[in-house]
């Protein structure tokens, strides 16, 4: 049974993997298509990085910025991975 459920589990993921990959890719491409939006994202990315860099050393690649455009509203999502040791320092 376990190998069957393994296959099942793997299968379950393929469409959600597809969806996640598309969402990340399109967030970038949509920016590239329209000059206005692309400048906005680049500017946001730069300034947000500057602010964060004043306090923490964060890897550029560990920051994800994306805009989801919806019919009613759009969502700006900023995802920053903060190094582990820093969490401790902040707490003390």
């Amino acid at each position: 049974m376990s190998f069957l459920s393994n296959i099942f589990a793997r299968r379950q993921q393929s469409s959600s993997v597809a969806k996640d990959r598309l969402q990340i890719l399109l967030a970038h491409e949509r920016g590239a298509g329209e000059a206005g939006e692309s400048d906005l994202i680049r500017q946001l990315h730069k300034e947000i990085m500057e602010v964060i860099a004043r306090h923490v050393a964060v890897d550029q690649d560990k920051v994800q910025i994306k805009v989801d455009r919806g019919s009613g509203c759009s969502m700006l999502e900023i995802d920053v991975e903060v190094p582990q040791e820093l969490n401790g320092k902040r707490g003390s």
């Binding site: 299968r11 379950q12 993921q13 393929s14 469409s15 959600s16 597809a18 969806k19 990959r21 598309l22 969402q23 890719l25 399109l26 491409e29 949509r30 298509g33 329209e34 455009r69 919806g70 019919s71």
Partner: protein, 270 residues
Amino acid sequence: MAKVLVVTSGKGGVGKTTSTAALGAALAQSGQNVVVVDFDVGLRNLDLVMGAERRVVFDLINVVQGDARLSQALIRDKRCETLSILPASQTRDKDALTSEGVARVMDELREKFDWVICDSPAGIERGAQLAMYHADMAVIVTNPEVSSVRDSDRIIGLLDSKTKKAEQGEKVDKHLLLTRYDPARAARKEMLSVEDVLEILSIPLLGIVPESEDVLKSSNVGAPVTLAAPTSLPARAYFEAARRLSGEKLEVSVPVEKRGFFDWLFKRDA
């Protein structure tokens, strides 16, 4: 007031020509005057899918360049008299289409028909942009597959920026037609679901056309699926999509075959 509709996708092979023929025929079968226009210069296929390939004398480029009158190039469908086709040229290259010439032909078609349905070539180049330029509405044909969804997103961007409507500060009315959909595979999460694609592209859903052998059978014999197999699942999906295009509010459902044959037989006309 005539409506110009472009059937487009970016990616090739997703079902633009099949959908143009089926939607065009479905609208014409409801009594409206419809012309389907093939913009795929050099790779024309709409005439073949519609069974008019041996009746082509003049084509879109002849009309655009003034070598033939529109009425000489239009081919009236033999099965449905409110349906006409304006074929593309098979030989000349697509630079022969000028923007001014296309604009003139589109104006003339708007006067003659209720619906002008433009079958776009694949890609995002000049040919595809000419096909969409005059559109009031767009049907974006998408397969539940990553490359098709990505290309559709590109095309949506172009519809919002490179059309006459966009230049005038208006919006092309965009609709998603999901084709080659396999509900069983989507349920097993092996295929992007309707909801996934809608969430990513965020445009309204016009219809879900299931993967079906009836589509190939119809193109084999040169007939739109709505004429060749009007009770098949894809044809029913196209008929409903055509009604939505005409402004009817119909709920979109995932097309599945009804359980019993007799259920289906008695329910189909209900």
